[in-house]
């Protein structure tokens, strides 16, 4: 273990020779997993703010029927970029940030396997994000076909905004693939002696599985958007019937990526929740082996269900039945995980600090999102709900009350380790309760909007949808403002605050809690031995 004086963190580039870079050059050239993790986390928070402003633009326009704030073309650009930025710029990099910070410390490794590739994986992101945001300002505006980029609308769209988006998607995919190669190699090769895979904590486990998913499906997305690009500019007709192609082909290729993608988004969150629930129950995780197998089952099953996003495209009824049954199956391992978390709590000694509050909120609300997913899986019911606000409600429950809440849990849980200070617990709790209330205000009513028949991706709506839209908009602004409280708490914690011990959470398990807080710049230079 490193001996470090408080406040004198070792910031050498590699600690062994010459003058370490400082200032901008430090961040540009670092190969240190903690530095890179920090950059991912700040980048993703910035993207949350950008995506959030787009969401608030959407909700502001939808406060009343009629067009008040943006014209329909701009509105479609907002919905498209909100989705792309939140999925690829915010939520995915957040979990890569946690992976970078925590996986080496949790497995007893001194850093990720490939330091320079790690640096590149991060630095690809700001240019990609710039391309996406810049596309708003080019003639014709940004891509306006929804984050799902269906052909032929994307092939038809004039202007280079669509092409910039395709380029950005390629770059984002490259970053994810390289990051995943790094994570797999690190986990499979650099674990401390004695840490067999079945002794590894849940967070690295879920990331190991997620990394394989990423490598399998990101190239598929790249293929799909490349076919759009060639249909647009190079005379191909993959998606045009007149040329012998089929628009539905795009949907198959996209959703073959798209469905595993949503599990890529949530599985690392599951890993965080397993660790947080265990820590604040002061009891070992119930059914560790089942949790590993359930995660792997979910990942494998995710490849077989993509066309439940396509029930209304006109596939034969046998196809609809198959995809319906396969989709229902995923509920089983997911249910096992929820039951195991509750069994971990059962007869434990619970305390309710902020990470635990977010974890409990996750379990309840993610399950709700899972139920609406099950309802959507039922084809005859999906015929009524597809492309309505019911779908929007479903995926925001699992991605915001699911993935984002688990990211908040992770941040509060590990902030003391990263910064050496405790965050303000009262402010953390207020952040939780405000997020919980405003999130539900925003999205619960959207289930009813979908049931009533309100379609998605419309800037203007029929009068009977007004009241729920107004409630949703007020909730959205409340939710957005609540996040400023989080930002304030994090910044204050970084700058100072009560000193955090090595293990601020008395029930927590894991090698990271054997390191001092803040963790030294280079940790586990001598690997621990795990019994």
């Amino acid at each position: 273990m490193e001996a470090t004086l408080p406040g004198h963190a070792d910031t050498h580039g590699d600690g062994h020779h010459g003058h370490p870079p400082s200032g901008l050059m430090r961040w540009l050239t670092t190969t240190n997993h903690k530095d890179i993790g920090t950059m991912y986390l700040w980048f993703s928070f910035a993207m949350f703010m950008v995506g959030g402003v787009m969401a608030l633009t959407i909700r502001a326009e939808l406060f009343q029927p009629g067009l008040q704030i943006v014209e329909p073309e701009r509105f479609n650009q907002m919905t498209t970029l909100h989705g792309l930025i939140m999925v690829f710029g915010a939520i995915m990099p957040t979990f890569v940030g946690f992976a970078n910070w925590m996986i080496p410390m949790q497995i007893g490794a001194k850093d990720m396997a490939f330091g320079r590739m790690n640096n590149w994986s991060f630095w690809l992101l700001p240019p990609a994000a710039t391309l996406l945001v810049a596309s708003l300002f080019v003639p014709g505006g940004a891509a306006a076909a929804g984050w799902t980029l269906y052909a032929p609308l994307t092939v038809q769209q004039q202007g280079i905004g669509m092409d910039l988006t395709i380029f950005a998607v390629h770059i984002l995919g490259m970053s994810s693939i390289m990051g995943s190669i790094n994570i797999i190699t690190t986990i499979l090769n650099l674990r401390a002696p004695g840490m067999t895979l079945m002794k590894m904590p849940m967070f690295p486990w879920t990331w190991l599985i997620t990394a394989y998913l990423i490598i399998a499906v990101m190239p598929v997305l790249a293929g799909a958007v490349t076919m759009i690009l060639t249909d647009r500019h190079f005379g191909t007709s993959f998606f045009s019937a007149a040329g012998g192609g089929d628009p539905v082909l795009f949907q198959h290729v996209f959703w073959f990526f798209g469905h595993p993608e949503v599990y890529i988004i949530i599985l690392p969150g599951f890993g965080v929740i397993s660790q947080v629930i265990q820590a604040f129950s002061r009891k070992p995780l119930f059914g560790y082996a089942s949790m590993v197998y359930a995660t792997a089952s979910i990942a494998i099953l995710s490849f077989f269900v993509w066309a439940h996003h396509m029930y209304t495209t006109g596939m034969p009824v046998g196809g609809q039945l198959y995809f319906m049954y396969a989709t229902m199956l995923i509920a089983i391992p997911t249910g096992v995980k929820v039951f195991n978390w509750i069994a971990t709590m059962w007869r434990g000694a619970l305390s309710f600090e902020t990470p635990m509050l977010f974890a409990l909120g996750f379990i309840v609300l993610f399950t709700l999102g899972g139920f609406s997913g099950l309802v959507l899986a039922m084809t005859p019911v999906d015929v009524q709900m597809q492309d309505t606000y019911y779908v929007v409600a479903h995926f925001h429950y699992v991605m915001v009350a699911g993935a984002l809440f688990s990211a908040f849990a992770a941040t509060y849980y590990w902030l003391p380790k990263w910064t050496g200070h405790m965050y303000d617990e009262t402010m953390g709790k207020v952040h939780f309760w405000m997020s919980l209330v405003f999130f539900n205000m925003t999205f619960f009513v959207q289930h009813f909007l979908g049931l009533a028949g309100m379609p998605r991706r419309i800037p203007d709506y029929a009068l009977q949808f007004t009241e729920f839209n107004q409630i949703s908009t007020i909730g959205a602004f409340g939710f957005g403002l609540s996040q400023l409280l989080f930002l304030y708490n994090v910044i204050t914690c970084i700058r100072g605050g009560p000193k955090a011990p090595a293990k601020p959470w008395d029930g927590a398990e894991g090698l990271e809690w054997d390191l001092p807080s803040p963790a030294p710049y280079h940790s586990w230079e001598t690997q621990p031995t795990v019994k």
Binding site: V248, G335, F339
Partner: protein, 380 residues
């Protein structure tokens, strides 16, 4: 504060809330479920969903009662020591098998409803719905009413959309020409599209079918009551995706027969005399109506378009240059852009009129006119 005072306050508060609820908010729409079904299958779907809600609610209550019990009773603050158990194969098997059984029980009724839904054999009437950017076109292909065809565009005025006049009751859900069908007869809807993917969605009939360019899909319904049922396009199709609604009017058999006769008369009358020679003012006047119905969404009422995606017509080379070029692009569209081939949608007279209008409106002063037979020739 005394108990009595507290009580009085509560009563006052309750009274205020009741007043609020009764006054304004009673008018508001807080609908919580699907629209009222108008077919047997839509009723099945409605019931299926209600049943699923009960099952999910039951599971939610059972599971989270356990969790909340734990939250309340297994707190460290009460001084307890945590248990140490951390696995049980028996329990894991139980909570894998029980959900599986619940899912199997759900799967059966859902399967049978789906099979019924997908049966579009032996229809009484077949209607093709074609999605355009941004309106629907209907062709009655087979059965009573065969041969009827019309476009159906949203009839909500732009002033209402831009908040310059109060919104009507059926804001965004009203069209100029309804899809009329007889009650109790099986109607097969074929869907396709002219440009990008649209979707034909009418909630009360439990129909949603993608309309895919170059392909034909189908769906079927048998309305079991008369009424007007409104729906919208349900696949993002560009800027006016929100503005291409669907209105299905289900009428008695007698009324339907009368409507069919009426439509056929109208179509015969609307067929313009092919030998008529039109004057410039006649063409411009008709052309302006056609322009406002078909072109204004992109090229705007002032002809200035929305650069760079929708080019201006006012002062454009095409609208002031050789007629042949102008006719060509209006009749055939321009591939790779949003400019549709209006030759497929409009009659010779309408096309001649709108091209003439464009060549003589705003600052365009060609003084030229286009006769319908020039359009007919251009189509060869």
């Amino acid at each position: 504060m005394t108990k009595q005072a507290k009580c009085a306050n509560m009563v006052q508060l309750a009274g205020l809330l009741v007043l609020l609820a009764v006054s304004g908010w009673a008018q508001a729409e807080y609908k919580l479920n699907f629209q009222q079904p108008a077919t047997k299958i839509a009723q099945n779907v409605y019931d299926l969903h209600v049943w699923m809600m009960y099952v999910c609610a039951f599971i939610f209550v059972v599971v989270f009662s356990v969790m909340f019990y734990s939250v309340l009773n297994h707190r460290k603050s009460s001084g307890r020591t945590p248990a140490t158990f951390h696995e049980s194969t028996k329990v894991e098997i139980l909570w894998t098998i029980v959900p599986t059984i619940i899912l199997l029980l759900m799967a059966w009724p859902v399967t049978s409803t789906l099979l019924e839904m997908r049966d579009s054999t032996n229809p009484d009437i077949t209607i093709k719905a074609t999605g355009y950017q941004w309106k629907w076109g209907y062709d009655y292909l087979k059965g009573e009413g065969e041969g009827i065809r019309f476009m159906s565009m949203m009839s909500t005025p732009q002033e209402q959309i831009h908040n310059q006049s109060p919104k009507g009751d059926h804001y965004l859900l009203e069209v100029d020409n309804h899809v009329v069908v007889p009650v109790g007869k099986k109607v097969r809807m074929l869907t396709t599209a002219n440009d990008v993917i649209h979707a034909w969605f009418v909630p009360a009939l439990a129909i949603k079918q993608d309309a895919i360019p170059g392909f034909i899909r189908d769906a079927a319904f048998r309305a079991d009551r008369e009424g007007i049922f409104r729906g919208q396009c349900a696949e993002l199709c560009g800027k006016d995706h929100a503005y291409m609604p669907i209105v299905v009017e289900v009428v008695s058999q007698a009324k339907y027969t009368a409507w069919v006769a009426d439509q056929q008369k109208k179509m015969a009358a609307a067929a313009d005399d092919p030998s008529k020679v039109w004057t410039l003012p006649e063409l411009v006047k008709r052309g302006e109506t056609v322009y406002l119905a078909n072109c204004v969404a992109c090229h705007q009422a002032n002809g200035k378009g929305l650069a760079p995606v929708f080019p201006p017509l006012d002062g454009s080379k095409i609208a002031t240059g050789p007629k042949a070029g102008h006719i060509g692009i209006v009749v055939n569209g321009k591939t790779g852009t949003a400019m549709a081939a209006f030759g497929k949608q409009l009659s010779d007279a309408d096309l001649a009129a709108v091209i003439t209008y464009e060549r003589n409106a705003w600052s365009n002063k060609t003084g030229e006119l286009v006769q319908p037979n020039e359009i007919k020739a251009a189509r060869q």
